[in-house]
C-alpha cells in the first residue's frame, strides 16, 4: 500500500523542541565516540564538553518549566501510549539539573584523581563507562515511560558496577563490593520489573500518565497493590533504604574516589526520584494514603536509618567509610520527607536531595584529595592535614557544617523545612512531634561524627614523615564550586525553594498532574 506517495503533513521540529531528548542524547553518543576514537587524550575533553552541554540544557529546561509548565517529547514521532514519551516537569528538571551539575563539576576532579588511582591504559574506557553511567541516570529521570526507566536504570547500574570494581587497583575488596552490588542491584531491578508486569497486567499500558489515568479507580485491586510493593522494594534497593542498604558502605568505601563522589551525589537521588514519581504520579497520593504503606512502613524505617547509621558512623576509623554510613542516614531524612505525604514534607525531601548532593559530593572530593596526597583516608593517615592542606580542609569544613545542618549552610534549610513538615502534622498525632524531635537529635549524632573528623584534621599531630602538600588546582576548583554552592544556597533560598515547592505540587497532584495534554506534533 506504499506504492503511491502519501501527502503527509509535517511541521519541522526546531532545536528548542529537541531539548528533552538532547539532554540524554549528547552524553549518550559521547560514550561510543570515545571508544571508537580510542584516544586517551581526547577522552576527557569529549566527556567534559558533553557534560557541560547537558548542564546547559538542563538549566534551560528548568527555567522553562519553573512556572508549572511541562515539556514533552515523542520518540520516533509516535504519540503515547503507542510510543515512548519524555515528560519533563519541575520535579524531573530539578533532578536533571542536580545530576548534570554534579557530573560536570566532578569531571575535572576525576581527571586528577584517575591519574593517581587508575592504570593509565584504562582511562579511555573509564571515561566511556562514566558517560554511560551519566546517561543512564539522566535517562531514567527524564522519561515518562515505565519500562524505559528500567532500561536506563540498567545502563547506569551496569556501568556503576564496573566503575566500583575499578577501585581494585588500590584494594581488592572493591571487586567483592562490586559483585555484592551487582547481585543486590539485579535483584532490585528484577523486582522492579515484576512490579511493572503487574501494573501492565492491570492497565495494559506502559506510559506513566496513561497508567496513572487507568489506575485511578483500581485502589482495591490486589494485583496493583502487590505491584506497588515490588516497585518500592526494587527501587528501595537502589536508594539504599534502611534494611536494603547493605551494598552501600562497601561500594562507596572501595570505589575510586571520583566514582564515589559521583555516585553518592547522584545515583541514590535518581532512584529516589523514580520512587517518588511512582508513589505520587503513577499511583496517586490517595492510594498511598489509603493503603497507609508509606506511613506505617517508611516512617519507622527512616527514623531507624537516621539513628542507627549515624551511630555506626561515629565509630568509624576511616573518613570515607564514615561518610558512606552518613549517606544512609541522610537517605533516611529524604524518605521521611516523602512518607510525611504533605506538600512541605515533599518539598523538604526534594530540597534535601539537592543539598545533600552538593554536600556529600564536596566531602567525598575532600576524601579524594586526601587519598591523593596522604595515600589513604584512615584517620591516622589524614591526621593533622588541616595545616598541610588548608584550602582543601577549608572546603571540607564547610561541607561538614552543611552535613550537620548549621545555619548559613544549605543543609540547614532542608532540615529546617523537614522539621517544619513534621510539626505541621503534630496536631494530628503526637507521633509527629516525636519525629520532629528525632530529626534534631539525630543531627546531634552528625555533630559528633563530623567533629571527630575535624578534630583529627586540625588538632592531631601530623605524621612527621608525611610529605602531603596542597591538592592540585584541578581538585580545588570543583571543591570550592560546591563549597560556594553550600553557602550560597544557605542564604539565597528563593530559586531552589520555589522550584522544590513547584516540583512537590506537581507530584502531589497525582495523576491529575500527569494529565496535561501534550502537544501532539510529529507526522503520526
Amino acid at each position: 500500500m506504499a506504492d503511491t506517495a502519501q501527502v503527509v503533513e509535517h511541521t519541522a521540529r526546531t532545536l528548542r523542541d529537541h531539548l528533552p531528548v538532547l539532554q540524554v542524547l549528547v552524553p549518550f553518543v559521547t560514550a561510543p565516540l570515545i571508544v571508537l576514537l580510542g584516544s586517551r587524550r581526547l577522552a576527557w575533553p569529549l566527556a567534559f564538553i558533553a557534560s557541560a552541554v547537558a548542564l546547559v540544557i538542563s538549566f534551560i529546561m528548568l527555567m522553562e518549566v519553573r512556572e508549572g509548565g511541562m515539556l514533552t517529547y515523542t520518540m520516533g514521532g509516535w504519540a503515547p501510549p503507542l510510543g515512548i514519551e519524555y515528560r519533563v516537569d519541575a520535579a524531573n528538571a530539578f533532578v536533571l539539573l542536580l545530576i548534570s551539575l554534579i557530573g560536570t563539576v566532578v569531571l575535572p576532579f576525576a581527571y586528577a584523581s584517575f591519574r593517581d588511582e587508575i592504570k593509565s591504559r584504562d582511562h579511555t574506557l573509564m571515561y566511556a563507562c562514566w558517560m554511560l553511567c551519566f546517561t543512564g541516570l539522566l535517562g531514567m529521570v527524564a522519561t515518562g515511560d515505565a519500562f524505559n526507566v528500567f532500561v536506563f536504570l540498567e545502563i547506569s547500574s551496569l556501568s556503576t558496577y564496573v566503575l566500583v570494581a575499578m577501585g581494585a587497583d588500590r584494594d581488592r575488596r572493591a571487586l567483592t563490593a562490586a559483585y555484592d552490588y551487582l547481585i543486590m542491584g539485579t535483584i532490585g531491578a528484577t523486582f522492579f520489573v515484576i512490579g511493572l508486569g503487574m501494573l501492565y497486567m492491570a492497565t495494559g499500558t506502559l506510559n506513566m500518565a496513561d497508567m496513572a489515568d487507568r489506575i485511578a479507580d483500581q485502589g482495591m485491586n490486589r494485583t496493583v497493590r502487590s505491584g506497588f510493593a515490588f516497585i518500592m522494594v526494587g527501587m528501595g534497593l537502589k536508594v539504599a533504604m534502611f534494611p536494603l542498604h547493605l551494598w552501600l558502605p562497601k561500594a562507596y568505601t572501595f570505589a575510586p574516589s571520583a566514582v564515589t563522589v559521583f555516585l553518592s551525589a547522584t545515583a541514590t537521588k535518581a532512584a529516589l526520584y523514580v520512587m517518588m514519581r511512582f508513589t505520587f504520579s503513577v499511583y496517586n497520593p490517595d492510594f498511598a494514603f489509603a493503603t497507609n504503606t508509606l506511613e506505617i512502613i517508611f516512617i519507622p524505617l527512616a527514623v531507624i536509618a537516621m539513628f542507627s547509621a549515624s551511630f555506626v558512623a561515629v565509630f568509624q576509623t576511616n573518613f570515607k567509610r564514615m561518610l558512606a554510613y552518613s549517606s544512609i542516614a541522610q537517605v533516611g531524612y529524604m524518605l521521611l520527607g516523602v512518607a510525611l505525604l504533605t506538600d512541605t514534607g515533599l518539598t523538604a525531601a526534594i530540597l534535601h536531595m539537592f543539598n545533600h548532593g552538593l554536600t556529600k559530593g564536596l566531602l567525598f572530593m575532600g576524601v579524594g584529595a586526601y587519598v591523593l596526597r596522604a595515600n589513604g583516608s584512615f584517620y591516622t593517615q589524614i591526621a593533622g592535614l588541616g595545616r598541610k592542606m588548608p584550602i582543601t580542609t577549608g572546603a571540607v569544613v564547610i561541607g561538614g557544617l552543611s552535613l550537620i545542618g548549621v545555619p548559613g549552610t544549605a543543609g540547614f534549610i532542608s532540615k529546617w523545612i523537614l522539621v517544619e513538615a513534621a510539626l505541621e502534622r503534630a496536631p494530628e498525632h503526637a507521633m509527629f512531634l516525636a519525629i520532629a524531635v528525632a530529626i534534631v537529635l539525630s543531627s546531634l549524632l552528625a555533630v559528633v561524627y563530623v567533629w571527630r573528623a575535624f578534630e583529627v584534621l586540625y588538632l592531631s599531630e601530623p605524621d612527621p614523615n608525611s610529605t602531603a602538600t596542597e591538592a592540585p588546582l584541578m581538585m580545588l576548583i570543583p571543591m570550592w564550586i560546591l563549597a560556594g554552592g553550600c553557602i550560597w544556597f544557605g542564604f539565597s533560598t528563593e530559586l531552589l525553594h520555589d522550584t522544590a515547592v513547584q516540583a512537590a505540587n506537581g507530584l502531589l497532584q497525582g495523576s491529575q498532574g500527569m494529565l496535561v495534554i501534550p502537544d501532539q506534533g510529529g507526522a503520526h
Binding site: 579511555t124 563507562c129 535517562g139 545502563i155 551496569l158 503487574m198 496493583v224 510493593a229 515490588f230
Partner: protein, 185 residues
C-alpha cells in the same frame, strides 16, 4: 486443551530442572542444567506465541551464557563448597516474596482471557496499526525498532556497557599498533 497439557508438562520439567540445580554441587552439571532450563523455557515461549523471544532465549541462554559460564568455571573451581550457614533466613525471604506474588495473582485476569486489560488497551492498537504505519509482517520487529525504538537503542547501549565493562575488568582496550605508538609518544 493440548496447549494446556504441553504447558503443564514443560512447566513441571522446568521446576524439576530448577530443583536439581539447587541440589547439585558439581558446577559443570549446574551449568549444563541451566542450559537445559533455557532450552525448556524457549519451548515454553513458543507455546506462548513468542517466537522471537524463544529464538533469543535459545541463542542467549543455551548458547552464549553457557559458553561464558563454562569459561568462567575453567578459570575458577569446578566444585561448590557445602554452605556452613542454615537456610532459614533465605527461606523466610523467599516465602515472604512468594506470598506477596501469590497475593498479587488473586486479582489477575485468567491466563489467556481475551478481555484482560493487557489484551484490550495498547496491544491491539499495535496489531492494527503495524500493517498501515510500517508495513512489515513481523509485528515484534515493528514495535522493537520503531514504536519503541528508543528502548532498543537503550538495549544496544546496555550490551555496549557490558562489553566495555568486561574489557575494563579483564583485558583493556586494544588498538592498532601505529596508534599505540602515537599514544605513547
Amino acid at each position: 486443551m493440548i496447549d494446556t497439557v504441553t504447558n503443564i508438562i514443560l512447566l513441571s520439567m522446568l521446576v524439576i530442572t530448577a530443583l536439581a540445580i539447587v541440589r547439585m554441587d558439581r558446577l559443570f552439571a549446574v551449568v549444563m542444567l541451566s542450559g537445559v532450563f533455557s532450552l525448556l523455557s524457549a519451548l515454553l515461549f513458543v507455546t506462548l506465541d513468542a517466537v522471537d523471544v524463544a529464538f533469543t532465549e535459545a541463542a542467549v541462554g543455551a548458547g552464549i551464557s553457557t559458553v561464558l559460564l563454562l569459561s568462567t568455571i575453567a578459570l575458577t573451581k569446578p566444585v561448590e563448597k557445602r554452605a556452613r550457614h542454615t537456610a532459614l533466613v533465605p527461606f523466610i525471604v523467599v516465602c515472604v516474596t512468594g506470598a506477596a506474588l501469590v497475593y498479587g495473582t488473586l486479582d489477575m485476569p485468567a491466563f489467556g482471557d481475551p478481555n484482560a486489560p493487557a489484551l484490550t488497551h495498547v496491544g491491539p492498537e499495535y496489531l492494527a496499526r503495524t500493517p498501515v504505519d510500517i508495513d512489515v509482517p513481523n509485528a515484534v520487529t515493528a514495535i522493537l525498532g520503531s514504536y519503541r525504538g528508543f528502548d532498543t537503542l537503550g538495549e544496544a547501549a546496555v550490551v555496549f556497557t557490558a562489553g566495555i565493562g568486561v574489557l575494563l575488568l579483564l583485558s583493556g582496550l586494544r588498538r592498532r599498533r601505529e596508534d599505540e605508538e602515537e599514544d605513547q609518544a
